[in-house]
């Protein structure tokens, strides 16, 4: 079970964590100390918006509009992803 996230929090990648395109293997990686996480296409879109400026609610709005998907689903999936990465100290909420 992951907790819902408030629309007002501003998620950001922690210092020393970055999303980087993999020019050799394709796709995107989330790089952190001693960790490489292959980011799936949905995660890539969420994380690209975690710029330390946008609120979580804005991120969900943006993704919902761009991909014409169910808002509640986008919100739940994004919250699950960000909570998981926060537990790994890769994202700050």
């Amino acid at each position: 079970m992951t907790a819902a996230l408030s629309a007002d929090i501003v998620p950001r990648l922690a210092r020393g964590v970055r999303l980087q395109e993999d020019r050799v293997r394709g796709g995107w990686n989330l790089l952190a100390p001693e960790r490489v996480l292959k980011a799936n296409p949905v995660a890539v879109e969420v994380l690209k918006l975690c710029d330390g400026q946008r609120r979580f609610g804005d991120i969900v709005d943006d993704l919902t509009a761009r991909f014409s998907v169910d808002r509640a689903r986008v919100e739940a999936d994004s919250a699950a992803l960000l909570n998981d990465l926060a537990a790994k100290r890769m994202v700050e909420l």
């Binding site: 210092r15 293997r25 001693e34 100290r89």
Partner: protein
């Protein structure tokens, strides 16, 4: 043999170090300063590594800060797109120099602590006042905002203080801590009789780590390297020989792991003579134990062969005299008794410092 794209490069920029830890991963025969690669060669190697698919660059040593061109190396590596990790003793890096490294694009700092008790830490490091300097250095890292990992090698005389180590790492602002049992190659092997913990303590350490992980969940990442000699299954050393990672020594030899030079008969190529990708793909040393074809029994027909890759070649050599043997840590090894015997050998207090 098809070589997969490597993920990580460990650059041993120098073997010079102010510390003299008795479990140092450097070889017994240290490279001299005058033989070290120059700045341009390192930058070429970093760029080649990034093009091959390497993601993480570990700038290590010895003490990497002994290199005057460290900031230039960081800047070049960051420019090539590598994630740069500085593995340091924290000695000899001023706040100003740390700031310079952060501006150059350094991503992460990993600081070694030898113990939580200053006198003990200094005794192991062979450097009076080292521990105090390290505590100051951690504060300086925190001031730059760079993420910090604290790493500690565990052995007989500090194994009872793992909980305190984790606590200290958190107080120092670390986001991650690495607790690694001593590895018995080179200096560690020389000092094995002094470093080896009792079996009960080694097993208790693993249980303590689980409790500490639960207690610090979400605040601290704890990575644990279990004690080989008390394991039932061998570690998948470097996740397979020539499969994910490579080391470049101060004078430019390219190795599949820290201790690979201890294996007789392997031909290591040098980045002064060839490109990194040619060495990775073609050099006899990298192909010697790549894949599973080289394996003998019991590995060859074992269902775990693609999971643990037969364990560690250097450990097989150190304990059985032949790098081709199954790592004797494995319970299926016909020579497994050698590990039990070594782990139960009489304790000896004397340490040979790394010099």
């Amino acid at each position: 043999m098809n070589a997969p794209a490597p993920l990580a490069l460990l650059a041993e920029l120098t073997h010079r170090c102010p510390l003299a830890c008795p479990y140092c991963s450097n070889p017994l025969d240290l490279d001299r300063r005058e033989d070290e690669l120059d700045t341009q060669t390192w930058l070429r190697v970093f760029d080649e590594a990034a093009r091959m698919g390497v993601l993480h660059l570990h700038l290590s040593g010895g003490e990497p800060a002994a290199r005057r061109d460290l900031a230039d190396l960081v800047r070049g590596a960051a420019g090539s797109g590598l994630y740069t990790n500085l593995i340091t003793s924290g000695i000899g890096l001023t706040e100003a120099r740390l700031e310079e490294l952060a501006s150059a694009g350094l991503d992460h700092v990993q600081l070694s602590l030898q113990d939580v008790v200053a006198e003990e830490a200094d005794r192991i490091a062979g450097y009076a006042g080292a521990h105090g300097k390290k505590i100051q250095f951690a504060a300086a890292v925190r001031a730059t905002g760079l993420p910090l990992t604290v790493n500690t090698v565990i052995h007989r005389s500090n194994i009872s203080r793992i909980g305190q180590l984790v606590e200290m790492a958190m107080e120092l602002g670390a986001r991650r801590v690495e607790i690694a049992h001593a590895q018995y190659y080179g200096w560690g092997l020389k000092n094995r009789a002094a470093l080896m913990p009792d079996r009960a303590d080694a097993l208790a350490a693993g249980r303590d780590i689980e409790i500490l992980r639960a207690e610090t969940s979400g605040r601290l990442v704890i990575d644990y390297v279990p004690p080989d000699y008390f394991a039932a299954t061998p570690k998948p050393c470097t996740n397979g020989w020539g499969r994910q990672s490579l080391n470049v020594t101060p004078r430019g030899r390219v190795l599949p792991c820290h201790a690979a030079e201890s294996i007789p008969g392997l031909d290591f190529w040098n980045v002064r003579d060839r490109s990194l990708s040619e060495i990775w793909e073609e050099s006899p040393a990298f192909n010697a134990f790549r894949g599973t074809d080289w394996m003998a029994e019991p590995c060859q027909s074992c269902e775990h062969r693609e999971r643990d890759f037969g364990g560690c070649r250097c450990q097989a050599l150190a304990l059985t005299g032949d790098a081709r043997n199954t790592d004797p840590v494995c319970r299926y090894s016909p020579l497994h008794h050698l590990v039990s015997a070594a782990s139960a050998a009489p304790h000896d207090e004397s340490l040979v410092p790394r010099r």
